[in-house]
């Protein structure tokens, strides 16, 4: 809606999009980084170097954030029973059984 109907992408627009999405991604938003990469897949043959730079670091950031979060989730799931009351306190749902 914020973009016109017959929108055409040129290099400047692409750089702008990639940079903005890249900045947004720093707010604990790896999903936005992934969107950034996914959006430019159809244009991959005509990408600027600058855009590629942003996309590369978006992908790296996405993988890094994902690794951190996944790692934390793994630690939590493994150790939840050991932690006892603390584990229950930080749990939003407590599975039974």
């Amino acid at each position: 809606m914020l973009i016109p109907e017959d929108d055409k992408l040129d290099d400047e627009k692409m750089i702008n999009i990639a940079r903005k999405l890249w900045f947004i991604g720093f707010f604990f938003l790896p999903w936005v980084w992934l969107i950034n990469v996914l959006y430019f897949i159809p244009y991959r043959n005509s990408l600027n170097d600058k855009v590629k730079w942003y996309l590369k670091f978006s992908l790296i950031g996405f993988l890094g954030y994902s690794t951190i979060f996944m790692g934390w989730m793994g630690i939590y799931l493994v150790n939840r029973n050991k932690w006892g009351a603390f584990g229950d306190d930080i749990s939003i749902t407590i599975p039974f059984g």
Binding site: M1, E5, D6, W31, S46, Y76
Partner: protein, 647 residues
Amino acid sequence: MNENEDENYRADEKYKIKNEKNNNNNNNNNNNNNNNNNNNNNNNNNNNNNNNNNNNNNNNNNNNNNNNNNNNNNNNNNNNNNNNNKIENIDSCINNIERTNKYNLFKKKKGKKNSMDESNSSLNNIYISSPNLSERSDNSIGSYCTNKTMKSENSIINIETLFKESVSDDNSDDCGSKRGKNINDDDDEDDEDDDYEPDVPQLVDYSEMIISILYPVCITMVIVVLAIRAISSSTTKNSQTVEISNSNSGGGGGGDSSSGADKMVFDSVVNSLIFLAVIILSTTIMVVLYKFKLMKALYAWLMGTSILLLGVFGGFLFLILLAYLNLGLDYVTFVIVVWNFSVGGIVCIFWYSPKLLNQGYLISISVLMALFFSRLPDWTTWGILSIVSIYDIFAVLCPGGPLRILIETAQKRNENIPAMIYNASVYIGMIYNEGDNNTIDQENNENNLNEIVNNVSNNDDGDVNENIQNSEQFNIINEVVNNNENGAGDTLENGSITPPPPIPSFIKDEKQRNQSSGSNNFSNFNNLLIGDAETNDEMVSNAESSVDSTTSEPYVKQKPSIRLGLGDFVFYSVLIGKAASYQITTVFTVFIAIITGLFLTLILLAVFKRALPALPMSIIFGIIVFFLTFKVLIQYIYFLGENQIFV
């Protein structure tokens, strides 16, 4: 001798590719032939060039759908004359085979064309040609032909036309099965078919559009049904979510009817009137904001509601799902997941994003809204549905209706409607990478061709000796299409060389991406829009101005698009969600009723060609069918089941 001619030949090839790229800018067959004559005279390669010339004539005439047989005979004679030079040609023959194979591999047509056995080949007509854009339909990417026949003297011209990716498999299968026969006529018919494909009658167009709008509606309804069944089953399973889904009243019929019929009627009427008032208020605010061009306030409102909706309801549903799946999760991960989901949703809905994600988020918003509404008490839901569908008629069709004002204002300003609308537009051709990417694409194409030529020249030493005993002739036509200034030509070339992005067929257009438009979802729930004549002409003119060529007119010819407001999704899903909370039988009957109503509305749309309310028919059908099923059909089925009667 051999090497000399081979090098000559290769140089000739490279030169010709570039030269003909330039030549084809003219879109003029005669011009093209003349230029090729000059080109061939400049190079001292007799045999191949004669053949080339001849086949070039032939191919151009094929493009014009004229006189194939005459040219075919000429070609035969020419081939007979050239039999003396067979052995010198072997190198270049293999060269051509290699080259075609490279080309095929590059176009991911492996298996189909490469299956031909080179050792059996006695005669090769290899074309690498591509259509004249003014003659072909938008689907044809380029036609290049490979042919092998068992007979040595009769040259058979086999033209295989590769169309765009979706069609090309069929065509190559077709040609593969007919390989070895003279299929000039068949291929010409194919060409004609594809030439006139844009002129397919409109009924086909509508069916395609109906299918394209049917997919998201069905997906939304199925997800809602699954979620409601999951929630209602999790209430019996997990004590933690009982308080959450308390208002669901256990899925029994008429849960709040026990407190008296008059109270029930009063409650439902009051609830639906309040609901209607909220809808009217929000719609009016939106229309006023849009009318007075307070776009920032409008967008801020839409974004705020969207992020709240996605975050709150999304998180809520996520929690319920976790409880249903009996999974433990900590607060940190939960918050991060919800935060990512909602902010990613804002990006996808309002800004540049992959089309698939955009539509997925639109669907998920409808699902969340529908899940929220289906928690209302039963009779309130029925009251809301009927009142809203009646209101929908007035809002869209009355001269002073808010949605009508909204639509008319948007059309007047040539903007898209600032509302959450699912745009299921269907295009004939795939238009993407337009405009400024043309030069880049062209460079890519040239690089690709050069790469191919280089690969061929590297590989041509391999299989020379195998085929010496086979007298081979071949004729090569390189008529590489490039309307370089032509955006459509470049998209064709691009589509032929690079695989298209993995997007489903109903969201093919990159150009008119879903301008999703947000809104508070209930403010604009019900406009079913078809691109009417005005907007269509405007779109076509835009596309033409961007492509700036008259030859690409078939490419920009496009069908009108169907846009369905997200509110329609929401209320369809509310209805079916309500049905799902009773019995599974009602789900199927109501589903069929809703789809029938949608089809009827689309037929009316084809008749009236204006914005129509999509809710009334489907909702009325759905409610009637629901009560019929619930009160009659289920009793009937139970009766039959109890008495062991099998109809």
